[in-house]
């Protein structure tokens, strides 16, 4: 875990990590949220809608923005104020995702940084884009 404080951060600083989405993650997400939409739960149904398999919950993918902010950038001293995200392409079980964030604005007066974040799959396709606003200790 990183431990950046506001004064450690500069525009353009970035962090990246990778994660592979597993069927177990899908089960756990379902257990937490109760979202039983067949596009996420039923492979035959998903294929019928033209996808190669179950579509990963968009919010499961976006949940890695929590990890990005809370563990990597800025890490320990972060408290997320907000996340805006767009699900540009579907994610599938087994995809290996590269989660990246870059500091795009620093507001010292209010103790907040803006992080432009992306999630890219193993084929180099951007699947999720996000703007994170993270408060952190001075």
């Amino acid at each position: 875990m990183n431990h950046y404080t506001l004064s450690d951060l500069t525009l353009g600083m970035s962090e990246t990590f990778t994660v592979t989405v597993t069927a177990e993650m899908m089960e756990r997400f379902y257990a937490i949220t109760g979202d039983d939409s067949p596009i996420h739960r039923d492979a035959a149904y998903a294929k019928g809608r033209g996808y190669p398999g179950r579509v990963v919950y968009g919010m499961l993918g976006a949940s890695f923005f929590s990890t990005l902010a809370g563990v990597y950038l800025p890490g320990e001293h972060c408290l997320l104020h907000g996340v805006e995200c767009k699900f540009a392409r579907p994610i599938f079980v087994g995809d290996t995702l590269t989660v990246s964030g870059t500091i795009s604005h620093i507001s010292e007066a209010v103790g907040e940084v803006e992080i432009k974040a992306t999630i890219t799959n193993q084929n180099g396709q951007k699947v999720t884009r996000g703007i994170l606003r993270a408060g952190l200790a001075q």
Partner: protein, 80 residues
């Protein structure tokens, strides 16, 4: 940028932040007048203004802001 342009831009930031295209600001408008104007929205408003006007607020600048008039005066001073 003259004062009217700054006012218009600030009003646009408020409208965008509170998703209310009918919002009309006066210099006396304060957090008590806008239901969702809480501490988190105050941060969002200030960072949006930093970006819009390419300015940097200091903690002592924003600590005593009481209403839109104070905010406008601060932006005018920092953009002068």
């Amino acid at each position: 940028m003259d004062n009217q342009m700054i006012f218009d831009a600030v009003q646009e930031i408020f409208r965008d932040n509170f998703d209310d295209d009918t919002l009309v600001l006066t210099r006396e408008t304060c957090a008590d007048d806008i239901e969702d104007w809480d501490s988190l929205e105050q941060i969002n408003l200030l960072t949006a203004m930093e970006k819009k006007f390419a300015i940097k607020f200091k903690l002592e600048d924003v600590r005593g802001l009481k209403n839109v008039g104070d905010l406008l005066d601060l932006v005018v001073r920092l953009t002068a």
